[in-house]
Structures are given as structure tokens and as C-alpha cells.
């Protein structure tokens, strides 16, 4: 599958600042692409548009030529955010986060991912506030790795975590994306991380966006 942003522009409020200004971006299955830029340059916004969470003001986000937001049912493009505590329901136990993943009854697959991410059984009975940020993020990643996922968007997913957890999570994700031939878009401020994980790195800066777009 091929996911692309074509000539995308976006602003959050009418008459507000243009966060994205005619941006093009492409990622294919099996390809790992890093995205880096100073804060406020619309990295998160670009991922949200690619995931179909936001509609661009101009241009379009296409998955195999069809707008991402038109896909019904399970979306093969899954996004993981920077703050895991904002992407889970605080009133539900953590096992429900895993239940939300796309497992199509394949319990073995689900178990393989859980243990690969180092998720312990005792955490599943807890509520989000009762585990650390690193433990919670592991649940969010497991949920996004359902069987029909083809392209994974990772938005600073380990920025708030300690180095040991960061190393373990990226080790697992790299192995998993290689094994399944997933596409991966990684947003990070760490150049070193991107160089170790990605095939190519896209640097977003306003001028370049304008010239290339």
C-alpha cells in the first residue's frame, strides 16, 4: 500500500497561521521514513492528516489513490501519539485497550505482540493512572499493531520515556515492521534515533516546503 499527502495545506482556525503550506509526502509499505523539524512546523498535523483524523484545507491524503478518510471499517493506517495518557479511556482497565486492537480472533498474534512489548499480565487489570508512562505507551503501541495494520505513524512516541524503555520499544518496532513489511513514519527530534531506524529522513522547513510544494 502507498500512503501519500498531495499538495496539502492546513490551518487550525479560520484566518489563522498556515501550519502546512503545500506539502508533499509519500510512504510505502516496507519503507521507514523519518520526519524532523523544529516545533511548530506541523509534524503532528501532517501525521493527523495522513491518518485521516484531520481534513486538509487544500490537497488530499490518499491511501492507494483513495482519500484515507473515506475508508470504512478498520483503517490500515494507524497513528500512535506522544502522550499515551491522552489516547486511552481513564475509566477503563488496560486490558480494554488491548481489546480495541484488530486481532480478528488471532489470539496467538496478540500474545506475541504483548510479550514482544514486555506487557505484564498484572498491568492489564490496572487503570491508566496506575502504570507509568512507558508501560502505558506499550499498550497503545500493541493496540495500533493489529493484524490489518499496514502503515504505522509514530509521533514522538518515546520522547517522554526513559532511555531504557525507548531502546526496548524501538527495538521491538523495528523488528515488527521488518517482519511484517509495514510502512513506518517516525517523527522525532532525535536525529540519531532517526538515522538508526529509518531508510530516509525528511527535513521539514518552511522555505523548502514553499519551494518544493
Amino acid at each position: 500500500m502507498k500512503l501519500e499527502a498531495k499538495n496539502v495545506s492546513f490551518r487550525y482556525t479560520e484566518g489563522g497561521r498556515l501550519v502546512l503550506d503545500h506539502v508533499d509526502f509519500t510512504v510505502e509499505e516496507g519503507e521507514r521514513v523519518g520526519v524532523t523539524a523544529p516545533s511548530g512546523f506541523g509534524k503532528t498535523t501532517l501525521l493527523k492528516i495522513l491518518a485521516g483524523y484531520e481534513k486538509p484545507l487544500e490537497g488530499e491524503a490518499l491511501l492507494d489513490g483513495r482519500p484515507v478518510s473515506e475508508y470504512r471499517g478498520y483503517c490500515p493506517v494507524q497513528m500512535i501519539g506522544q502522550h499515551p495518557e491522552l489516547s486511552v479511556n481513564p475509566r477503563r482497565k488496560l486490558k480494554t485497550v488491548l481489546d480495541e486492537g484488530d486481532w480478528s480472533g488471532d489470539f496467538g498474534e496478540r500474545q506475541r505482540i504483548e510479550s514482544g512489548l514486555g506487557i505484564l499480565d498484572e498491568w492489564k487489570e490496572r487503570y491508566p493512572v496506575e502504570v507509568s508512562g512507558g508501560e502505558l505507551q506499550r499498550f497503545c503501541i500493541a493496540r495500533a499493531l493489529g493484524t490489518r495494520t499496514k502503515i504505522l505513524l509514530a509521533d514522538e512516541i518515546t520522547t517522554m520515556l526513559d532511555l531504557v524503555t525507548q531502546g526496548q520499544i524501538w527495538g521491538f518496532l523495528l523488528g515488527e515492521t521488518m517482519r511484517r513489511g509495514l510502512g513506518l513514519v517516525v517523527v522525532s527530534h532525535s536525529r540519531e534515533l532517526l538515522e538508526k531506524v529509518c531508510h530516509r529522513i525528511v527535513e521539514v522547513d518552511r522555505k523548502q516546503e514553499k519551494n518544493d510544494g
Binding site: 516545533s39 514486555g118 507509568s132 527495538g171 523488528g175 540519531e192 538508526k196
Partner: protein
């Protein structure tokens, strides 16, 4: 160098002659810490909380934490969230919340730092560069916040010089906090801290939200402050940034000190003693190496730490 230290020691003993006569033990202790601007020994902070109904429980946030900061030195305290970093800063400043119980001893400049003494010294000799930009008054212009309302020519002159040193032009003084970028606000916070020529600067997470270049610039400013002879205690979750700026690193985990090492020791894993510090060193992206299964071998360190440190 040695002679100088002995002289200063003698001086302290002289000043405290009456105390020394009363209790020889105290003199021994003060000799041991004289080199240090700040020394924290066996610090514990716990909270009393009320759970459901009338159940009361004590939460041990920091346990048996030790560290020291010498003059002219940047000491970084690195730990993930919940390791008790900010509480350390607040304990030294004497601004813990009312339901916190503190245990252990904090020495400042060789003498015990009591709550009263901290109150006298903070904002003058001991300054905090706070974590959040919301510590500035949103309704007050930058200029008066830096001069703390003083309007004499000397203070204004100094504030101008300090702000200019951080690349902040005169018109910044006439602006309100919301009109400045995150990086500028950080520099204003550091400027307010160095207005008083402090001996100890405590910086609590001074760089989140800044892109790497801006964060490095901020670290450079702390190095300048240390080079003027102040001790800097840098509290951060970002070990890699700490390594780029600090002389020594103290690693915290679950409110306890895991270990202390020179920043240079993190370049070579063998020099580190504790398995958690070794794992941190291996886990830095620059040391990653894909072997077909994993990027770095941190083994079962997190399970080990959960068992040993209880969280």
C-alpha cells in the same frame, strides 16, 4: 589549592567557634562538606494521603537520596518521571507542599540549611529556574519581573545588561509573557535567576518544548553561570542533554539514588558500576546497533529495577 581550602575551613571553624566547642562532631561534619555548595544527605520526602473514606496512607516519594554540588560545577540529576526530581528541588528551596514530610539533611555552604535559612537565602544566593513558563506573572511586563519591581538606575542597568547577555533586546522588557516564544521565556527565567549573582542555581527541567539547538544554547548559559563560580544543579529527564552539559550525573530511580558518575564515564560503559547505568548507556540511540532482534541489550533491567526499587 589545598592551602586555600584549609584556610577557608579554619575560617569556618573560627566563625563557629562557639558551636565547635559545644559539639565537636558538628565541626567534623562541616569540614567534610565545606567544598560543596550543596550537599544532600539521606533525603526522604513522603506524603500523607487520604484514600477512599477515611483510609490514610503514606506515600514515599523520595527515599535516601544523596548528592553534592561543588562551586563551578554543573551536577545533573537525571531520572524518568516519578523519580522524585522536582521534589528534590522543592526540598532544597524549602517550598514543599504542607502535607509533605521531609527527612534527612541539606547542607548549603557547609552549614545545615534549615527552612528558615532557605527562606532567607532563596531568591538571593539560592535561585530556582522553574520548570514551567507559567511561573511568570502573565499580567506583568517582563522588565519589572526581572528587576523584581526595583526601579533604581543601577538595577535597571544590570537587568538591561543581563537580558542583553541572553540576546534579549530592550523592547522585550516592554512585553508581556504571552508575547514571547518558549525559548525567549526560558532565557527570561534564567535572567531573573542571575540578577542576584547566586551561589547555587537549581534548574528544574529548563528545556522541554525547545528544539535541540535552543536547548543546547540554554545549557551553554548554565555553563557560563557555573564558570562564574556558582554551583548548578540541573534537574532533567533527558540524560543525553545532561551528558552534553554537566560535569557529573546523579541517576535517580523511583525516588532513590542509583549512582553517580562523571559525565565522561558514560562514553565508556565499563566505567559505570550499576547495571541500570550501564543499561542507560547502552540504550542511547548513538550506541544502538541492529542485530536482527534488538537495537540494544538492556536485558531484564526494568524487571530488576521494579523488584529492587519497588516501582
Amino acid at each position: 589549592m589545598n592551602i586555600g581550602i584549609t584556610d577557608r575551613n579554619t575560617d569556618i571553624v573560627d566563625r563557629n567557634a562557639d558551636i565547635a566547642n559545644r559539639d565537636a562532631d558538628i565541626v567534623d561534619k562541616s569540614k567534610g562538606v565545606e567544598n560543596d555548595v550543596l550537599k544532600v544527605e539521606h533525603l526522604s520526602v513522603s506524603f500523607t494521603q487520604y484514600g477512599r473514606g477515611l483510609r490514610r496512607r503514606t506515600l514515599h516519594a523520595v527515599e535516601d537520596l544523596n548528592l553534592s554540588v561543588r562551586a563551578g560545577e554543573i551536577v545533573a540529576v537525571a531520572g524518568s518521571s516519578g523519580s522524585g526530581k522536582s521534589l528534590l528541588a522543592h526540598a532544597v528551596m524549602g517550598i514543599l507542599p504542607y502535607n509533605a514530610n521531609m527527612d534527612g539533611t541539606v547542607y548549603y555552604d557547609g552549614e545545615i540549611l534549615t527552612k528558615e535559612r532557605a527562606k532567607r537565602l532563596r531568591g538571593r544566593e539560592i535561585v530556582l529556574v522553574p520548570q514551567s513558563v507559567s511561573y511568570l506573572d502573565p499580567l506583568m511586563k517582563i522588565g519589572p519581573q526581572v528587576t523584581k519591581g526595583k526601579n533604581d538606575a543601577a538595577t535597571r542597568e544590570k537587568s538591561r545588561r543581563v537580558l542583553a547577555g541572553y540576546g534579549l533586546s530592550e523592547d522585550v522588557e516592554e512585553k508581556y509573557p504571552f508575547q514571547l516564544s518558549g525559548g525567549m521565556i526560558r532565557r527570561v527565567l534564567i535572567a531573573t535567576a542571575v540578577m542576584e549573582t547566586p551561589k547555587l542555581v537549581i534548574a528544574d527541567e529548563p528545556t522541554p518544548g525547545l528544539h535541540p539547538e535552543a536547548a543546547k544554547r540554554v545549557m551553554g548559559h548554565f555553563r557560563e553561570i557555573a564558570d562564574t563560580g556558582a554551583g548548578v544543579l540541573l534537574i532533567t529527564h533527558d540524560l543525553e542533554l545532561a551528558l552534553s552539559a554537566a560535569d557529573r550525573i546523579t541517576v535517580l530511580y523511583g525516588g532513590r539514588t542509583v549512582g553517580e558518575a562523571a559525565a565522561a564515564d558514560f562514553l565508556c560503559e565499563e566505567k559505570l558500576e550499576h547495571p541500570y547505568m550501564k543499561a542507560l548507556c547502552r540504550s542511547m540511540p548513538k550506541n544502538w546497533n541492529w542485530d536482527g532482534y534488538k537495537l540494544c541489550d538492556s536485558g531484564e533491567i526494568l524487571e530488576y529495577m521494579r523488584k529492587e526499587y519497588g516501582r
